[in-house]
């Protein structure tokens, strides 16, 4: 799929659609996800986190994963990931992307973080811009 710059100029909603249809690698190379929203460029958050603890081989729970923007950055080296978001539509997008790229170690759940969390225990918990 080829997406032009003009596609990206039609607002955040359209850009998010494009993002959801676009291979992550292409987007990173051509523009960077920071063109579509208020998040740091890929890698910035993980570099800070991994100053404290390596995520390799870890069991990780992520709260507020959205469409998996950050999840897909660290999941390849994690042992397993449980990623939650109360927004079911975002979780559906994340699941579709996980299916597309063959990510087998991520469990995306559409639910809030309160109450017993499945898959415990975890080594690391990430609250990613979750309010």
């Amino acid at each position: 799929m080829r997406v032009s710059l003009a596609d990206l100029s039609r607002g955040k909603s359209r850009a998010r659609e494009v993002w959801n249809q676009t291979p992550v690698g292409w987007f990173r190379e051509e523009l960077g996800p920071s063109d579509i929203g208020g998040y740091p460029r890929p890698g910035i958050e993980l570099r800070i986190i991994e100053r404290f603890v390596s995520l390799s081989g870890r069991q990780i729970i992520e709260i507020g994963c959205g469409d998996g923007r950050l999840t897909f950055q660290y999941a390849p080296r994690a042992r397993r990931v449980v990623a939650l978001d109360a927004n079911a539509a975002e979780i559906e997008r994340a699941r579709a992307e996980a299916e597309r790229i063959g990510a087998r170690n991520i469990r995306f759940l559409a639910r809030p973080a309160e109450g017993p969390l499945p898959g415990a225990p975890f080594d690391v918990a990430l609250f990613t811009w979750s309010l």
């Binding site: 710059l5 990206l8 100029s9 039609r10 607002g11 955040k12 909603s13 850009a15 523009l31 960077g32 920071s34 063109d35 579509i36 929203g37 208020g38 998040y39 740091p40 460029r41 910035i44 958050e45 800070i48 986190i49 404290f52 603890v53 069991q59 729970i61 709260i63 809030p112 973080a113 309160e114 109450g115 017993p116 969390l117 898959g119 415990a120 225990p121 975890f122 080594d123 690391v124 918990a125 990430l126 609250f127 990613t128 811009w129 979750s130 309010l131």
Partner: protein, 139 residues
């Protein structure tokens, strides 16, 4: 968020890590236009305090104060986001609660700079986030 932190505490292994990434509670983003000639600073964005952001920071401080977690570090980092059109910049600005408003005189300067842009121009916003690092207390 206190409930979520408590649920996470119960699900964490002993001495498990928590990383809380949030927008900084109080800061003013700035806007600039960058093209092949360099970066032209345009001005500030009025960002009213976001009650949800403030509540998230307070919740984290509370669980630390109550002894449920130990705070290892609290960092602030500035980062830049880029937009390839005025409309995508405005769409992002309006997505915030409360909506980010441009300070007086910034809008005309931004439009003028954008009209005069060269190929490859982007609108940059400079933002600030906090990263709080906690560890589960044992015992």
């Amino acid at each position: 968020m206190v409930d979520a932190l408590e649920a996470v505490r119960r699900a964490l292994a002993p001495r498990g890590w928590v990383f809380d990434l949030q927008p900084d509670a109080t800061y003013l983003p700035t806007v600039a236009v960058r093209d092949s000639r360099g970066r032209r600073s345009i001005g500030a964005i009025d960002r009213e305090p976001d009650e949800d952001v403030i509540a998230a920071h307070e919740a984290r401080e509370r669980v630390v104060r109550e002894g449920r977690f130990e705070q290892v570090a609290s960092l602030r980092r500035t980062y830049i986001t880029r937009f390839t059109s005025l409309s995508s910049f405005d769409a992002d600005r309006r997505s915030h609660t409360p909506v980010w408003r441009l300070a007086r005189g910034v809008r005309p300067r931004l439009i003028e700079a954008w009209r005069a842009r060269r190929d490859g121009a982007v609108i940059e916003t400079t933002r600030r986030m906090t990263i709080a690092v906690l560890r589960k207390r044992v015992g």
